[in-house]
Symmetry: none
């Protein structure tokens, strides 16, 4: 029996409510010029007071030294073993765009690009960054002209800017194929090839090459948007839903496609946010509060500032987020978890392996460990210590008595 | 996918350099008469300053409560699961003596002993501690007289003092056999027996008994060195090299055979130290610094003093080691790890299960956790907390950006 089996066996339904507020890329490390982390530099009286009243710790998304993408790190937070459930980027993107996937589907991320047809060189991998409307229009055209390749149904859905998603729906498709993206402008696109000798992957590389060829013949005179790049091929994974695993009725409140996709993958209802700000998300949370017993609320911008190496931007965003905390508290959830999916230190300009500050506010305060602020260093002093992100869900469930006793 | 598979998938080559400085048996516990651990009693201004600037923690070699031998504890430090890769003492000894092993080899540690042939009693398990030259000579004689037993080739290599190694090279040998060592002087030697009914182990017990009988008939009149004890039977294990697993070009700088053997087992180049002191080792490190991207530097004496229960001896050795730290720092490695393979508290007079102080100095300082000294107690306050020694390699790799992001 693995841990998920145990949780599944012990989980029980009740009326208590859990909110996971995930501040993307929350964790930081000391920024040399400032001598502080982003959280240390931020002015966060509400988060600090909350940390004083909560169980605090630092959560390890995957394991020491491993820098996670958003997919695996969210799965961990939702209590799943990310090494067991490997979720492809194509699947995440497809779900994020609202596509419903079946077990016969292979998803791929795609985008329009500019090909120099004479030299066979990709001159702009983003097709001059077209407006979303242009991509919507061209996707519609391609969808009409390429409803299928042989026995494989083709489903095309536009995303933002130059991006779209292609679902290949059919029997016997495999995901072990390389993409055609040369990764850099000025290089030849690749022919799709499988990297595994199985028949499924062979069939798929054949189908995808045909798809690219058909698309080329249809759009080659369409200015900058005259070529397609497809990558991130992935099949829909078998993963138990949070309803099955935890007997929860979970909802996701997120703006960015990938996070909605992830939430859908684990069986959350995706609530439509009437806007793009955190305030819009919190308003929706309040409105839907009686309809669910688990809420995942996602805030993206901190991660983006971290990726840009913008220390001040991330600090300011944290200052803003702090102001909204009283609204979360006004709902008085039985458990409120505030953490990140991973660290994105401005000094590293990307995701990193560093453990992430976490607070879990429960009706059952355990100890007063003297944590003063919601920072990396103060959370290290907390009751939870450094622990696996996969243990956050069980802790939240326990603190709402949603887990029965194990054994007599 | 297990963690090693993950690391293997994510590892990437770059120019950054990692040094692991392993102070054998480093960790201690409070020595009652002194009220301090060895590290607390030592005067270590350089290590203390380094601890203040580093990530600190206590590493658990195997798991809570488990006292490791040097083999498993080093495997952990090198990132391998020591429960998955069980390395026999015979193999370590053979590699340490510079023998190259094949997959058909069974290694055994051996030594000359004194048998009272009339009473069939081992009267001195160490044959009066002969000079190494005598063992060299007698091994040469035995090797000439016993080139093989049936289809099994015999390879004999002298070690220090009364010790030597026997390799049994042939098809179908098994390692599940007991030894002939009575463990105490004044007892009868055992006949070699298998403790598993497999044919390989049966064949082997038969071969080894013949080897002992032949040796007896050849040396029975050779004074104190008139008998052989063989033990620690072990086959060469299949273990991925650090080159495969981490894409590193690793080198080992160690004086004692076992540590060189261990390093060779995980695919390190064994550099020949021109002397026996830590200064000799550091001089070699400087000379070879441009030729490798990972260095394992081993210092043995602290462990020996701990084993002897010599608190002051271990403290003095730590004082000496501290003086050499500036030389390590002068190389300015991208990551410098200083730790032990296990604890050897003088009060316990042997290896122990206690977590081992560790510092990891990275270009990416995380936080100022207020660690003041390189001691057990201060490391406990550190950012790494109490963590598995198997996570040291991934952390070192992460801090040198030798691990790609996991998932999208």
């Amino acid at each position: 029996m693995d841990k998920m089996d145990l949780i599944k066996e012990l989980s029980q339904k009740n009326e208590k409510k859990i909110i996971f507020f995930v501040i993307d890329g929350l964790g930081g490390i000391t920024y040399p010029e400032k001598g502080k982390t982003e959280l240390e530099a931020a002015i966060t009286p509400n988060l600090d007071k909350l940390a004083q009243e909560s169980l605090c710790g630092l959560s390890v998304p995957i394991s020491y030294g491993i820098t996670p993408g958003s997919g695996p790190s969210h799965l961990s937070l939702f209590g799943y073993d990310p090494l067991k459930h490997d979720i492809g980027r194509g699947v995440l993107e497809a779900l994020g765009l609202g596509l419903t996937m079946t077990k016969n589907d292979l998803a791929a991320r795609a985008n329009f690009a500019t090909l120099d047809y004479e030299k066979n060189i990709v001159v702009d991998r983003r097709a001059g960054r077209p407006a979303t409307e242009k991509t919507v229009e061209l996707c519609k055209f391609l969808q009409e002209k390429i409803p299928n390749i042989g026995d494989v149904e083709i489903i095309i859905k536009p995303g933002k800017g130059h991006r779209f998603v292609v679902l290949f729906r059919g029997e016997g498709l495999g995901e072990k194929i390389y993409d055609n993206d040369p990764q850099k402008d000025g290089h030849e696109p690749h022919t799709i090839r499988e990297h595994s000798p199985d028949n499924e992957s062979k069939k798929t590389s054949h189908i995808v090459n045909q798809f690219i060829d058909k698309a080329m013949s249809l759009i080659k005179d369409n200015g900058a948007m005259n070529y397609v790049l497809v990558r991130g091929f992935s099949k829909y994974p078998a993963i138990p839903s949070m309803k099955e695993a935890y007997k929860l009725t979970p909802a996701a409140i997120a703006v960015y496609p990938m996070y909605k996709g992830l939430a859908q993958l684990v069986g959350m209802d995706i609530l439509k946010v009437p806007g793009e700000t955190l305030s819009d998300e919190i308003a929706l949370l309040k409105k839907e509060y009686n309809n669910y017993d688990f809420f995942y609320v996602h805030s993206k911008e901190t991660d983006a500032f971290g990726e840009d190496g913008n220390f001040e931007g991330k600090v300011n965003k944290l200052n803003e987020i702090d102001k909204i905390i009283p609204e979360l508290l006004s709902l008085d959830p039985d458990v409120l978890v505030i953490t990140g999916d991973h660290s994105t230190p401005a000094v590293i300009k990307g995701h990193s392996w560093h453990p992430v500050p976490l607070l879990l506010r429960s009706k059952y305060k355990v100890l007063n460990t003297g944590v003063k602020r919601f920072t990396e260093q103060e959370c290290l002093k907390g009751y939870l210590g450094i622990f696996s992100a996969q243990d956050v869900m069980p802790l939240a469930m326990a603190n709402t008595f949603k887990l029965a006793k194990y054994g007599a």
